[in-house]
């Protein structure tokens, strides 16, 4: 190794420091056997998070050719519940994994070759990206938006970065994982300690799930003491994401001149007052509100079938429908409803929730509710339906 005279002393001191630190890790748990097992758990967990995250992204931003099914009713509820609760469960796994491999941070020389430098850079991407995804994800479901970026956009692109670095990392470490997991003839003096350590990590993950999963699985709601939502708490017993006040609609929703207009590619436009809506055939369905933040709550909705309304105006069977809110702005002022969803008899423009007229925060006078659909697309305070 070539060393310039002026950096020699510094380099020697750095080497001494790094070797000194790395010699201090006494625990036998900083081992490949532990790292390999935690790595497999994290690999599975990040794969589930990436796949369910992509489902959520492309449900909200579907390319033109992609028609999501409206059934099973609880599909999005399950994928997004897995994404968020699984993500929370991954926090103990990631922290334990980083603890296990921490001694590797102190290597001398820091880079043995160009390939080794690239490998370590990708590990940095993987570590930093994983911390970024889990920490911003946790803060986001806690509504603590402490960053200058758009969470959804940053979380989305960072996911590709992390998963790519993970795939490369797995390719690099696969031989070690195989050796650690499938080679039985090795003498393993630390097997009992390893099992206890991994058991503790699993317990931390399990406990995290136990005290949060009740925000989407109501029977466990009483245990969900650390969940940011309670599926039983909110106006009419259902949580709210955006209140009427936050949406700036408290005044206009009570306007007696309210009208629902159905327009666009229709035989004849329709303009209905609240009293007209109430007189149309009403249907009652049981559907969940499934939020992108992972919580969900079952409710009973009563209102007009969207397909009945579209039949009244003679919309084409392959029409796409845009539902618009009284909200003046906001990313979710409108939402698109494609044929599989609007032709589903469960899809309603609802007037009532759990037996009484919608509370202002739930979208009075009228809101969209459809099966297998992210909550942010269940447009509230609906005033216009545009057929195209």
């Amino acid at each position: 190794m070539v060393r310039h005279p002026d950096v020699k002393g510094l380099s020697a001191r750095a080497e001494g420091f790094v070797r000194g630190v790395s010699a201090r890790f006494g625990s036998g748990l900083h081992s490949e056997g532990v790292a390999a097992r935690l790595g497999v758990w994290l690999g599975v967990s990040f794969t589930v998070a990436f796949a369910t995250g992509l489902v959520s992204h492309f449900m909200q931003h579907p390319p033109g050719w992609l028609l999501w099914p409206s059934r099973p009713v609880n599909l999005y509820r399950v994928t997004q519940g897995l994404h968020v609760i699984g993500g929370l469960a991954a926090i103990p796994l990631l922290l334990a994994k980083l603890w296990t491999v921490y001694p590797k941070l102190f290597q001398w020389p820091p880079f043995r070759s160009a390939a080794h430098a690239v490998e370590r850079a990708l590990v940095l991407v993987l570590v930093g990206g994983s911390l970024f995804q889990l920490v911003t994800g946790l803060l986001n479901i806690s509504y603590a938006y402490l960053w200058p970026f758009s969470f959804t956009t940053a979380h989305y692109w960072t996911a590709y970065l992390v998963y790519g670095a993970l795939v490369i990392h797995v390719a690099n470490e696969w031989a070690k994982v195989r050796a650690a997991l499938w080679t039985r003839e090795r003498v393993e003096p630390d097997a009992a300690a390893r099992r206890r350590f991994l058991g503790t990590v699993a317990a931390a993950s399990g406990l995290t799930v136990l005290v949060t999963v009740g925000e989407t699985y109501a029977p466990l709601a009483p245990l969900a003491v650390l969940a940011p939502r309670d599926p039983r708490t909110g106006p009419q017993g259902i949580p709210v994401n955006k209140s009427a006040l936050a949406a700036g609609v408290t005044g206009i929703i009570l306007d007696p001149g309210y009208r629902l207009t159905v327009t666009g590619a229709v035989r004849a436009e329709l303009s209905l007052a609240y009293a007209d809506l109430v007189r149309l055939p009403q249907h009652t369905v049981r559907l969940p509100i499934s939020c992108v933040e992972g919580w969900s709550a079952d409710a009973e909705w009563t209102g007009i079938r969207l397909r009945d309304l579209l039949a009244l105006v003679g919309a084409a069977p392959d029409a796409t429908v845009e539902v618009e809110s009284l909200e003046r702005g906001g990313a979710y002022r409108t939402s698109e409803v494609r044929p599989p969803h609007w032709s589903d008899p469960l899809t309603l423009l609802a007037l009532r929730l759990n037996g009484s007229p919608l509370a202002p925060d739930h979208g009075f006078p009228l809101r969209l509710i459809a099966p297998d659909r992210p909550g942010v697309l269940q447009t509230k305070w609906v005033t216009k339906v545009v057929v195209s």
Binding site: Y143, A144, E173, A175, A193, R196, L207, T208, V211, L226
Partner: protein, 170 residues
């Protein structure tokens, strides 16, 4: 790959054998490098192209800040706590460390909710619980579980009697 933690030198030959044989595994690895590289490139491109919404500087500060906070503060603190717990004698030491570790992780998860940063007056269904109380409850459960484990170990040792001092290592 290829930095076996402890015996750095002796493991080298295994690595050489691994890469020298153009096996099917070698092709799998190349395919994984390709796929992973594409995903990394897609992510980086997205972060840069969507700069108006991703705020690359803010993103980089969070990314770097989290690595620094974890590697420079959180993990050293965890190591220090583990070392302090080393004063407890086995077989109780494991349970003390396990309880401290689980309690620390659950506290981290609960922290943003306990601080209530996201509370909004117009939406009481957001963060509807008393999370300080919730966390204390969880910590109490962890403490009780660890205490039960320690007592069980102790009773078992006493039952075995003083004849087996080696029983300390399970």
């Amino acid at each position: 790959m290829n930095e076996p933690a402890e015996p750095a030198e002796p493991a080298e030959p295994a690595v050489v054998r691994e890469t020298a044989v153009p096996s099917r595994r070698g092709w799998w690895r190349l395919a994984a490098y390709g796929a992973g590289g594409v995903l990394v490139a897609v992510g980086l491109t997205g972060l840069l192209v969507d700069a108006r919404r991703t705020d690359p500087l803010g993103w980089a500060l969070w990314f770097g800040g989290l690595v620094a906070a974890h590697d420079g503060v959180v993990l050293p603190l965890a190591l220090a706590a583990g070392a302090l717990a080393g004063a407890v004698r086995e077989p109780y030491r494991f349970w003390v460390r396990a309880a401290l570790g689980v309690a620390a992780v659950l506290s981290l998860v609960a922290l943003p909710m306990v601080l209530g940063i996201g509370r909004r007056a117009d939406d009481p269904s957001l963060l509807p619980r008393d999370y300080g109380r919730g966390l204390l409850l969880v910590l109490a459960v962890i403490a009780v579980a660890a205490a039960t484990a320690v007592l069980t170990v102790r009773l078992r040792r006493r039952r075995r009697g003083p004849s087996s001092p080696a029983a300390s290592e399970e």
